[in-house]
């Protein structure tokens, strides 16, 4: 039985193929993406897999049990404003909330900064009379005839999707249900996005924005998945197709279509799980994962095998309040462009040379100095062996570009290149800091998993800046996310708002909410044919001190909450508040308040098994290719260059050294050592912190 993870990116479609418990490990494929219809590139990728196995596409597809698919069609539709024409039915009086975005201007001193364009223009935001109070009690009945009339208007306007969001519906979905019935009856083809289905929790702007985003991308995802499912069916696919979500879990296509917004920030969401698997080989449960590509750098914290989930995201300046992994993305990549500001300070990014024209050294017409140009001038890249020798780099073009920095700063070109690398290294270190220090974690206790084409060149600099002891560079760092997809579980995030003092709330009522959520979660998983022994349910409560406006999420035992025992919840809340914000008020007796009840319903899947390589000698000299002049901490020096594919499990390389692989080059700085582990990852270790490492790493180094 074959399982395939497919990550469709902007430039490449990556496939990772696993078969059974495969001794020989997953096979990796890369084909060009086809943005006009990404399912074409996906099938091209499957064909490449079939060819490599000497079988027909149909034969391959028939043997595939599971395809896990990460797609950016919803993300791209939003970024390029290519989503559906949407109509919004909302409570009379508040139809502008969506466009107002609570009145924020993100750049306060910039009078040329305009508001985000609304995803639904005003003439399609239709007010409906009918009102619930803050507790969900009806003050004024829903104006059914107004709904009828609004649906006619939207039909005439030719909308593809209708979003419904009413005031206080989180406390009572009745009005939204009635309106939805009318829409379904009158306009059955419209994609329907109902706030209490998408996000039944308090905060009107968060809910209306999320519900509209869902409507905006719903028809796009529906079209794409229909086309993909059809294409796969015509090839005889009888297995399960699963779609990656922003939360790091996967979900069946039908559910993804209903809650399309759960895929909006799914691009980097498979990375943290993959990172966890690579460090688990060394008995470690927590790590930081970073992925440095051409334009962006994604950082995430993994604790006890899982990344932190948050519900406060934004896309195109619109609030997306669905569960997603806490991934910090900053504009730092190989293509990041360096510039000197008016005060004479050197900056890097966020502007990127992208893939076209790309850095100056690509010789495709780029003239601005990019990070990759600096890397070339510092000797980290071999102009003749970029992308495994498929692409020659133009050193002269890089010199010309970096001169633009060197001139104004009165430095040599090489000094300028050093400066560019330092600034971008610092920016990336800040990204790592944002997911660790700023959340109360000491990065010096955590291994850093480094992925992405450009990541391994800069890993040691980040490690130096943050005093990290250990980095893990996975063998296939460029198809990291596709591998992560084969490690994801089915996941459904359910939420109910119920606002009450923790000490005096109606325990029976709370128990019933938990029962309802559990029943709903189990029903969805049953539909997905998950056997009972593979169901995992996790309850979380959002709690705050009375009068606070923001909650802290704490885990809770389903059994205890059902039994009315909330003592553990209170204790966990005080502790978490103290950890996050530096103080807690249990001694003051400040009462607590419950806001949301959340259930994560998971169906555990078979995970990709990473194969072990046999142990070889620690002497790496057979893989040595030669020497190259490269910048080493404070001067240029002749540095050993190794063929990374020739290094075996156990091979130990002393820094400074360069380890070249087809899609990425690892720079092992002075004071670091790199050793290849049984999974084919390079462990890069700071000499001064070796005693702090785990036994498994120490054994490899000895």
């Amino acid at each position: 039985m074959i399982r395939i993870g497919i990550d469709v990116g902007g430039t490449f479609t990556d496939l990772v193929v696993a078969e059974g418990s495969a001794e020989r490990g997953p096979a990796v494929f890369k084909v060009p993406s086809t943005p006009e219809d990404p399912s074409i590139g996906l099938v091209d990728g499957l064909e490449a897999v079939a060819r490599a196995r000497g079988m027909t596409l149909r034969d391959l597809v028939a043997r595939v049990e599971v395809i896990v698919h990460g797609t950016t069609v919803t993300t791209n539709a939003t970024l390029t404003r290519g989503g559906a024409k949407v109509g919004l039915l909302t409570t009379a009086g508040v139809r502008d909330a969506l466009e107002m975005r609570r009145g924020i201007r993100e750049r306060q001193y910039d009078n040329r900064y305009t508001n985000a364009l609304p995803l639904v223009p005003r003439h399609l935001r239709l007010p409906i009379d009918g009102r619930l109070d803050h507790a969900g009690r009806e003050i004024e009945p829903l104006a059914l005839e107004a709904v009828e009339k609004a649906v006619s208007t939207l039909e005439d306007e030719g909308v593809e999707a209708i979003a419904i969001c009413f005031m206080n519906a989180f406390a009572n979905p009745a009005h939204e249900k009635s309106a939805a019935e009318i829409v379904r009856a009158r306009l059955p083809s419209a994609y329907l996005s109902i706030s209490t289905r998408v996000l039944p929790s308090i905060r009107f702007y968060d809910r209306v924005s999320t519900t509209v985003l869902n409507a905006y991308v719903g028809p796009v995802l529906r079209r794409y998945l229909d086309s993909l499912v059809g294409r796969l069916a015509s090839l005889g696919f009888g297995g399960t197709l699963l779609i990656m979500q922003s939360s790091g879990g996967v979900v069946a296509p039908a559910l993804a279509t209903e809650k399309a917004a759960i895929t909006l920030l799914s691009g980097p969401a498979a990375g943290p799980r993959a990172g966890a698997a690579y460090v688990e080989a060394h008995g470690l449960r927590s790590c930081v994962t970073v992925d440095m590509g051409g334009t962006s750098f994604d950082a995430a914290l993994v604790e006890n095998g899982e990344a932190t989930t948050v519900t406060e995201g934004e896309i195109e300046r619109y609030r997306l309040a669905l569960p997603m992994l806490r991934i910090v993305t900053i504009g730092a990549g190989g293509g990041s462009i360096g510039w000197v500001d008016e005060g004479g300070l050197l900056r890097m990014g966020p502007k990127s040379a992208g893939a076209r024209p790309g850095p100056a050294c690509y010789g495709r017409g780029g003239v601005e100095p990019a990070c990759t140009d600096a890397d070339l001038l510092l000797g980290y890249l071999d102009p003749a062996f970029f992308a495994g020798g498929r692409m020659a780099l133009d050193r002269e073009a890089a010199v010309r570009a970096v001169s633009k920095i060197a001139g104004p700063l009165g430095m040599s070109v090489e000094e300028a290149a050093v400066g560019m690398a330092r600034v971008i290294d610092h920016n990336m270190a800040q990204g790592v800091r944002a997911v660790t220090v700023e959340r109360g974690h000491d990065p010096r206790e955590l291994p850093l998993v480094v992925a992405g084409g450009a990541g391994p060149l800069h890993a040691c600099a980040i490690a130096t800046e943050l005093e990290l002891p250990l980095m893990v560079v996975p063998r296939e760092s460029s198809t990291f996310c596709a591998a992560g997809m084969l490690m994801a579980d089915l996941q459904h995030d359910l939420v109910r708002s119920t606002i009450a003092p923790l000490a005096s709330l109606d325990r029976g009522e709370l128990g019933k909410i938990v029962d309802d959520l559990v029943a709903e979660g189990r029903a969805i998983l049953a539909e997905e044919k998950i056997p009972d022994d593979r169901v995992r349910l996790e309850l979380q409560l959002d709690v705050r001190y009375v009068k606070q406006y923001h909650e802290v999420r704490v885990p809770a035992s389903i059994g205890a909450v059902r039994a009315g025992d909330l003592a553990q919840v209170a204790a966990a809340f005080h502790a978490e508040h103290d950890r996050l914000f530096g103080y807690e008020l249990s001694k003051q007796g400040t009462p607590l308040e419950l806001i949301n009840v959340r259930l994560k319903a998971m169906g555990l899947t078979d995970k990709l098994v990473l194969p072990s390589e046999p142990r070889g000698p620690s002497d790496p000299s057979s893989a040595r290719k030669g020497k190259r002049r490269a910048w080493v901490s404070d001067a240029f020096a002749e540095v050993d260059v190794y063929d990374g594919h020739g290094l075996v499990h156990g091979a130990l390389v002393q820094g400074p050294a360069l380890v070249e692989q087809v899609n990425t080059t690892l720079f092992v700085a002075k004071g670091f050592r790199a050793v290849r582990d049984r999974l084919g990852s390079f462990l890069v270790v700071r000499a001064s912190s070796e005693q702090s490492l785990g036994a498994s790493v120490r054994e490899l180094l000895s």
Binding site: G103, N115, E342, G343, L345, L346, V423
Partner: protein
Amino acid sequence: MTIDPILVSVLARAFRSITDEMSACLARTTRSPILCEAKDFVTGLYDAEGRMLEQTENLPILSFSLGPVCKHLAKTFAGDLHDGDVIFHNDVFSYGNQLNDVAVFKPIFFEGRLIAWAACKGHQADIGGAVQGGYNPNATECWQEGLRIPAVKVWEKGKLRRDVWDLIFSNIRLDIVQEDMRAEMGACVVGERRIKSLFAKYGADVLDAHKEHLFSATARMMEAEIRKIPDGVYRGEATVYFDGKHPGSRHQIRVEVRVEGPRVTFDYSRTDPQTTGFVNGTFTSSASATTLTFLQMVNPDIPHNEGLIGPLELIIPEGTILNASYPAATTFGNHLCPPNADALIRALAPAIPDRVTAGWNQLLCALTTGNDPRKGGAKYVDICFMGLKGGSGAMAGVDGYDHIGMIDASGGVLDQDYEMFEQQTPHRLVLHEYITDSAGPGRWRGGLGVRTVFEVGGDGTQVVTFGDGDVEPAFGLFGGGPGTLNKIELRYPDGRVYRTTSKDLVAGVPAGTLYVQEAGGGGGYGDPRERPRDKVREEVRAGLISQEAAARDYGLHGGDHAR
């Protein structure tokens, strides 16, 4: 010492990430919606002498006064500062903004030496005085407005001075103010931890030298921007209407802007004398207003540190409405920013027509206090942020920003979430929408204003209004038209309608009263007849411009509607 220009860049970013983190901390932990929902606070880092390293300025009017207070503290407590000290301050006669704006300063020590300060300042829900919430239009002296806290050590060497704490908080009505001051302290502790680790990493000497370099690099950027303004003397003025005591009274703010090469002087010598009421500024609230308005006319990407301020000179004589003498009432001082900004814009518009906006909608605001019977009669304080935010002025090439609010916040202060508003107050929101025809017409139109209606619930309800913009609308520029006026009305259940003044106190507002507020639009820029027709038609269709206004202001006639 040789300066490493790269390290300068690194430090500039590091400082900013620290003040941002302090800001996030405060937003997550405070109780008053004024702080956690609207973000009416600032955070900052200062060097040992009180010079600004960086600030996160949700409300810029508060931020440019932290530095002067910090310098004052450094002098006042010279030789008597210790690790573990925490100082509270709100005194308006030693560089404070407004008594409700209570600051926390934490001196930071490294290797036994004072190296920096972390500070926060936030608008507290109450500060004692005659009126809950702090706005007392009847005040004539500062003591009638609230509790004055000159620099006071509340923690000394890490030990809480319980007596001082009790003295302060027994003069403040609401318990949440204690919690929110604790949150300000927590944010300073977070800033302290981070800045100490920077010193540990780079060493004090290296850090100090590079900090000086950062200041001078920033000053050079600012000077380059000022050089872009033609040398000359530019004058502008604006009117403050109604001092809260004498209906129909008017007070002029007059500014003379002198540009000479890389330096600019803002001279307010000809501004009218202070009033007998609370409509008076303090030096720092007025200087903040000038600074933040001018910063919107230069490159918005200049880092915010001491270097920014060096090239600016301010002359604001004591005894004027912008710098009232002790012991004047001054609670309204921050809200003199909008007319001050108008005067500055009018002065500089002829010199830099492409870098100024038309007039912004001025602040008119209401603070509601009362008891919530749903919560056992608990007191609440709410500033109706969603209602006060009108439109900004348009500028060459860009329409005004809709529903952004007064220029002193520039979109940094947010609406309450509607559903949270109904949870945290006994009121019910009826309407919050853009107002048709509120935007000043123009080639580029002003930002739209909003109408807010809520039904008053609970008992003991008192409405205090403060602001302006109900006499003169936001002005247009270069052929653009004015925006609309501000207005607050109370529609009582018995049918009476009371239109408040701009500085009013209305007690005993019964449940069932409709609170109706209009925040006006911003001024337009350029001849509205040159506005692209399809844009006008689009806004007619959206209901943002009426057919009549499209014809009258934009010259769009019946036949033009054919699509």
